[in-house]
């Protein structure tokens, strides 16, 4: 593809902005481990929000969204609705995780569980995440290699190595400060490019009306219907698969680790300056991601009507990139390539820093050198970042095909441990033995159900939704007995966790014990205040706001509907459909209502939380200094 001098100028200018901006925060990152990995826990909500959006807009994401929308039309958008876990998670799991003050999901294990089981889980998750991040880096790097090959004809390794190395420079120097500042700048550039190129795609196809008319003339108008299922149980997109995806996404918000994105979001949750900022950061990040998907879908349908007969996925998956590289004039192509680099940088920097966090915090500091100085921990973080970079090259270049297993692994992981990931949050009796058993069982059962038994003809190859439910059910046959046949976690530990985190769900015995010890305040009897309480309460004390109430449940129900409205309403609006306008208006009203209901409570919780945060942190740090513990 010919690149003019103006194109190179714009690419260079974007590079300078996206690398120079993060590097500016070098001095902040070197202050402490907390700065290097959590930006000092002081970020306003819009920085974690932009980071959520940017991180999950990877180089391979446009290929994936293009693939599902090209193949399935608007119903394919439901694949991308998995981001809706943030709609519930923002008000449930994010709130609890923020209160735990754990740096990572691995560290959370020793807050939630106690004893050797918790330590084993922490080590297990840390090892898993270090390598998972390396794989993701290799995978996304390979996608960048393919895009550079498409645009310039460069060898694949050039696109894999050079952009990732540039990213590593500021990630290594400025840590999470660099990541979030970079994500903010890159997010603006990326969102602008996604909107612009998608609109260009629709205009090139003749406009929204022409796209619709062309789909009708092709006999493909079903592609405009997000509910065009192939039957309840039959076809390649049955309604039961849609329902399964909804359950995975929405109920997944009650748990932690129910989505691979959770591990990334956990870092953003802890980097927010207050609990309210953490909730809004996660919610807004998920919402912007769905806005992005809506623009992509409209552009890709434009691409479809221009080239409706591409049969192979490899041909149509690069559709959105082709819109940018082939339709934009000289000069703007450079801007577009700058945006592609922005998309790539944000994902690479996040996973470099996250993988280094798990190594530094959960393996090195916890198990190898608990008394390491802050300076040393920052340097270990930098070395780990560099090693992860090299590892990603290895997996990308030498074992390219192995990255394909990642999709398989992600699916299996989510199916087999999806329910335990919820139970660990909502059920006091679920213990470390049960959770560890679920991971171990998942290894064997998933292999049997998905691969070994079908290979030997014992079991037919099952559709995705059946695989999910079967893996979940078989896993439960292992982890439920493992939980119930072993002892519950130590009550002292559970009470400490309960008082700190205030979890939602079945925590009756622990709550009663916390009340008996005078560690929490008893609720005012319902009958004494029922007459005074408005249906939606908007004045809260901190102690009252700590309890789960009707307002939380309203938010939990309304929030996913708002997310669905964003995705479907905006897409249809962009395609010029009247229903899109009404859905979008209802979505905006729903969003305002949601804010009106939940914000007073989040504010009250945050006031209390901020006042106690310093003490919490001091206690937590002491817990993690093993040398100071006696006989525990």
């Amino acid at each position: 593809m010919p690149f003019s001098a103006l194109d190179w100028f714009w690419t260079g200018a974007y590079l300078a902005l996206m690398v120079g901006g993060p590097l500016f925060f070098y001095k902040l990152a070197r202050r402490s481990e907390s700065d290097f990995f959590l930006a000092g826990r002081g970020l306003p909500w819009w920085l974690p929000a932009s980071s959520v959006f940017s991180t999950h807009t990877a180089t391979d994401t446009p290929m994936w969204v293009t693939g599902v929308v090209y193949a399935h039309g608007l119903r394919g958008l439901w694949y991308t609705f998995f981001a809706a876990w943030t709609s519930v998670g923002a008000f449930v799991s994010a709130r609890m995780f923020r209160r735990s003050l754990a740096y990572t999901q691995a560290e959370w294990q020793v807050v939630r569980f106690g004893g050797l089981g918790a330590e084993l889980l922490r080590g297990w998750l840390a090892g898993w995440q270090v390598f998972m991040n390396m794989f993701i880096l290799g995978w996304v790097g390979m996608a960048m290699g393919k895009v550079c090959h498409l645009a310039f004809g460069w060898p694949i390794w050039v696109g894999l190595v050079i952009p990732s190395t540039i990213t590593a420079v500021y990630t290594l120097a400025a840590g999470f400060w660099g990541v979030v500042i970079g994500d903010f700048l890159q997010g603006i550039v990326a969102l602008w490019a996604i909107i612009f190129v998608s609109v260009v795609g629709v205009v090139a196809a003749g406009g929204a009306g022409a796209v619709t008319a062309r789909l009708v003339s092709l006999g493909q108008e079903w592609r405009l219907d997000p509910f065009a299922f192939t039957g309840w149980l039959s076809g390649d997109f049955p309604a039961v698969w849609w329902l399964t995806m909804l359950v995975i996404a929405v109920l997944g918000g009650f748990g932690m680790g129910t989505s691979i994105d959770w591990y990334v979001e956990a870092q953003r949750i802890q980097s927010a300056r207050t609990l309210r900022d953490a909730c809004y950061g996660i919610w807004a990040g998920g919402a912007i991601t769905l806005v992005r998907n809506a623009f992509w879908a409209a552009g890709i349908l434009g691409f479809f009507v221009m080239l409706p007969h591409l049969g192979a996925a490899a041909e149509y998956e690069l559709g959105w990139f082709r819109l940018g590289f082939e339709l934009l004039p000289a000069g703007l192509v450079g801007v577009f390539f700058g945006a592609v680099l922005a998309i790539h940088f944000s994902t690479i920097s996040s996973h470099l820093n996250l993988g280094a966090l798990y190594f530094t915090r959960d393996l090195y500091q916890r198990f190898l050198h608990p008394e390491a100085s802050q300076r040393r921990l920052v340097w270990v973080g930098r070395i780990a970042t560099f090693v992860l970079l090299l590892g990603s090259f290895f997996y990308g270049l030498m074992m390219e095909e192995i990255t394909q297993w990642l999709i398989f692994a992600l699916w299996l992981m989510m199916a087999g441990i999806w329910l335990p990931n919820i139970l660990q949050v909502v059920w006091w009796r679920f213990n470390s033995a049960g959770y560890l058993a679920s991971w171990m069982a998942n290894l064997g059962i998933s292999w049997l159900v998905v691969w070994v038994l079908p290979a030997f003809g014992v079991l037919p190859k099952l559709p995705d939704y059946l695989q999910f439910w079967l893996l979940m059910g078989l896993g439960a046959l292992v982890f439920l007995p493992a939980t119930l046949l072993t002892r519950a976690e130590d009550m002292d530990h559970l009470v400490r966790y309960y008082v700190m985190v205030r979890p939602l769900g079945w925590w009756g015995p622990v709550r009663r014990e916390a009340l008996r010890r005078g560690l929490i305040v008893a609720e005012t009897p319902v009958d004494a205040t029922a007459a005074k309480r408005p249906f939606i309460r908007r004045r809260w004390t901190s102690a009252e706001a700590d309890r789960w109430s009707r307002e939380d449940w309203i938010a939990i129900v309304v929030s996913p509907l708002v997310f669905a409205g964003i995705l479907i309403g905006l897409t249809e609006l962009l395609l010029g459909q009247a229903t899109g306008l009404w859905i979008t208006l209802a979505t905006v009203a729903g969003g305002v209502f949601l804010y009106w209901v939940i914000d007073p409570k989040l504010r009250a919780v945050s006031v209390e939380y901020e006042a106690r945060q310093a003490r919490y942190l001091e206690d937590l740090e002491r817990q993690h200094r093993w040398g100071e513990e006696v006989g525990h």
Binding site: G123, F131, F135, L368, W405, F408, W451
Partner: protein, 42 residues
């Protein structure tokens, strides 16, 4: 490379990494228990 073999290698590496992490955790736990025992000796 065969897809099954690729999957086998990839999954194995991930689980080996997790087991290594768990091994570290156990080793550190034992070390801590031993130190704790020594501290309690008169």
């Amino acid at each position: 490379m065969d897809r099954g073999l690729v999957t086998l290698i990839g999954m194995s590496i991930a689980y080996i990494a997790s087991l290594l992490g768990m091994g570290f955790a156990y080793w550190a736990w034992r070390r801590r228990q031993r130190r704790s025992g020594k501290d309690k000796q008169p």
